[in-house]
């Protein structure tokens, strides 16, 4: 085995590309869950974002417009979820699952004309001088703008949840909606906003997948990434920076295992494929072993419907 063939910079570059869609979707879902809502429709919102982004990129050739369209498509589907769960009081788990199936179907329908089309959107940064620095140049300055956006979004979500008044209200709603309501906070409005944000982020992740990571559209191309995003939120114990870590671990395990295989390392690939999920289960066991901490981590009102008692 010759590990010298493994270029860490290339590896890290691929890792970041593979992790970015997961990070977007996980950040969105994290905020949604912090507000006390469990939206299992991430996969559906992602795939709708993927086709929205792809169709727009195909028509306009613009990465920025594609990202906006992807986010819009995800938010649109999230709006449906918000209407169902916050106004019509449907069950969040069932509605979320339905949202995934619905999103996959709608995306296939919308995408019929786009199967087999290709894209010419190259948006990698190329800063003369900086991008050409050996090893770290491409890694730090050679990505597409959405990668940087995902990192900025992580910081912003952290700041919003922990340092802003609005974030405090959102967490209050997620921890105890009765109390928040009694104080006079608009529980429903906060949750609908969070759901829309979550949808937009999932859509953005989908758009990244279909426009940057694999510039093509095929049905079912998210292939379970929405579910991985949900797992990352739990893995991260609802903390943005840990979500970043989680996304990079999940993305990284895939990339590293593919590279190790290409090198001929004799580890059964099935073990590596299941590794991220094993880690999630382990983390779950560890964080729930300490009951006091577990209570602190998970939003207390997660998944509970809120009936406003005027």
């Amino acid at each position: 085995m010759d590990l010298s063939a493994l270029n860490p910079a290339d590896l890290a570059f691929s890792l970041i590309v593979a992790a970015t869609p997961l990070l977007f979707a996980a950040l969105g879902e994290l905020v949604v869950e912090k507000s006390g809502v469990l939206n299992l429709g991430v996969e559906g919102m992602m795939i709708l974002g993927a086709i929205g982004g792809f169709a727009t990129a195909h028509g306009s050739g613009s990465l920025a417009l594609a990202a906006l369209a992807g986010a819009g498509a995800g938010a649109l589907l999230a709006a449906l979820f918000a209407l169902m769960t916050q106004y019509l009081m449907s069950n969040q788990v069932a509605t979320g699952l339905a949202l995934t199936l619905f999103g996959l179907g709608v995306a296939s329908l919308v995408g019929q004309g786009y199967a087999g089309q290709t894209l010419q959107v190259s948006a990698r940064l190329d800063i003369p001088g900086l991008t050409d620095i050996p090893v770290i140049g491409r890694l730090l300055f050679g990505h597409d703008p959405l990668v940087y956006l995902s990192l900025v979004a992580t910081a912003l979500v952290w700041w919003f949840l922990n340092r802003s008044r609005a974030g405090l209200i959102l967490r209050a709603v997620g921890e105890n909606h009765e109390a928040a309501h009694a104080i006079g906070y608009p529980v429903r409005l906060v949750r609908v906003s969070a759901i829309l944000f979550g949808g937009a982020m999932a859509g953005l992740g989908g758009a990244y997948l279909a426009v940057v990571q694999t510039p093509l559209w095929v049905e079912g191309m998210t292939a379970g990434r929405g579910w991985i995003a949900l797992a990352i939120v739990v893995f991260a114990a609802w903390r943005p920076w840990r979500a970043l870590l989680g996304a990079y671990v999940f993305g990284g395990v895939t990339i590293v295992q593919l590279n190790l295989q290409a090198l001929g390392v004799a580890i059964e690939s099935q073990y590596l494929s299941m590794a991220p999920y094993l880690v999630t289960i382990l983390v779950l066991v560890v964080i729930s072993a300490d009951r006091a901490r577990a209570r602190l981590d998970a939003p207390a009102c997660l998944g509970k419907p809120f009936y406003a008692s005027s």
């Binding site: 063939a5 493994l6 270029n7 290339d10 590896l11 691929s14 590309v17 593979a18 869609p21 296939s108 995408g111 019929q112 199967a115 087999g116 290709t118 997948l209 990571q213 694999t214 510039p215 093509l216 095929v218 049905e219 079912g220 191309m221 998210t222 292939a223 990434r225 895939t254 990339i255 593919l258 590279n259 295989q261 290409a262 090198l263 001929g264 390392v265 004799a266 059964e268 690939s269 099935q270 494929s273």
Partner: protein, 359 residues
């Protein structure tokens, strides 16, 4: 009974009989297709669906086809197949290896319905199996890959370690090695037939490890788009994928199911259908090729065409000894060709391939 009444009865009977015959003639044969992926995958399922359309075009009003796409292998498949059998389909094509057990199970309960299962090995009185000798195609593209690689490294994206896939790797490797003794294969198992994101990641990993020609045994065109982006070469899978990489796409092995589907439909219409096991290759046209990339050097095209005709005429067999297994034990003696039984159960790499075959 009066004469008039008798005449009326006879005429009514005749009219009824004519009506019945007319109805029988007008009743089209319903043919069902069960697909594992979306028809828009531009790969495996796409080709099955093209063949379905060919059947419709060939037989016109005599047949009526329906298909269900994106059927997961497992309990879902059984439900879909049973539903098709119950709703009056006379002939059902189940087009993925993982549909084998559900197909055989449902077939037992519907002895009057004919089943055709792709790439499986279990048959019954009303279950036929069919597959294509893709390894013949792999031989041809292996030759091209061996000639075209400059880094002497060929990347191979493999799906699952089943004989079908292992056979393809071995055939391609032996062919590439025969024209380029320095050639190396880097093989990545992605454990999926269809996950564009993961296939793209695998292609990236292989390219980063020095592969400048990518082969795939997965169904999406994602590796081709990555090859195009990175400026390396690639081969399409199952279908012509030129549009995804006009510069990188050298050719593709095309699964051409139309002649077989038309022949089997004809057999059901004629009442001559029997359970058979078909394994056709280049010669009957079940394995075909996409047009060669115009950028391919003439001598490489000539080499590929020579091999294609050689296989067609039965002069060339991709597995002709001497061939050793990976561990060095002899498999085929000099001049000996592999038996179909050996090929169907192939579960080892040939000598020279690095890495362990997953179990």
């Amino acid at each position: 009974m009066s004469l008039w009444k008798k005449a009326a009865a006879v005429m009514a009977g005749a009219a009824l009989a004519v009506f019945a015959i007319g109805a029988a003639a007008a009743e089209p044969l319903k043919i069902g297709f069960v697909y594992v992926g979306p028809t828009g995958d531009f790969g495996w399922t796409h080709e099955h669906d093209l063949a379905r359309q060919a059947v419709e075009a060939h037989f016109g009003d005599k047949v009526e086809t329906t298909y269900v796409e994106n059927v997961a292998e497992g309990p879902d498949a059984e439900r879909v197949i049973r539903q098709m059998a119950q709703s009056g389909h006379g002939l059902i094509f189940t087009t993925s290896f993982g549909f084998m057990n559900p197909t055989v199970k449902v077939a037992k309960q519907f002895p009057d319905v004919k089943f055709e299962h792709a790439t499986g090995y279990q048959r019954a009185d009303n279950v036929s199996t069919y597959s294509a000798r893709f390894y013949e195609g792999r031989h041809v593209i292996g030759l091209i890959a061996g000639k075209m690689t400059k880094t002497n490294t060929i990347g191979y994206i493999a799906s699952f370690p089943i004989p079908e896939v292992v056979r393809g790797i071995n055939a391609a490797y032996l062919a590439a090695k025969s024209v380029n003794p320095a050639v190396k294969f880097r093989i990545v198992w992605v454990n999926t037939w269809f996950d564009p994101g993961k296939e793209a990641d695998a292609a990236n990993a292989l390219i980063e490890q020095g592969a400048d020609v990518i082969m795939q045994h997965t169904d999406s065109a994602a590796p081709i788009t990555i090859a195009e982006e990175k400026g390396v070469l690639a081969f399409g899978q199952a279908s012509d994928m030129t549009r995804f990489g006009p510069k990188s796409h050298l050719t593709a092995i095309i699964d051409n199911w139309s002649p077989y589907y038309i022949a089997r439909t004809q057999a059901v219409l004629d009442g001559t259908w029997t359970s058979t096991d078909t394994w056709d290759g280049i010669a009957p046209g079940m394995v075909a090729f996409a047009p060669y990339n115009p950028a391919l050097p003439k001598e490489v095209v000539a080499l590929a065409e020579y091999a294609r005709f050689g296989i067609m005429l039965g002069k060339i067999h991709p597995f002709t000894g001497p061939i050793n297994r990976q561990d060095g034990t002899p498999w085929l003696a000099a001049g000996e060709t592999a038996s179909d039984g050996d090929l169907l159960g192939m579960n080892f790499y040939v000598e020279g391939i690095e890495g362990a075959l997953p179990k």
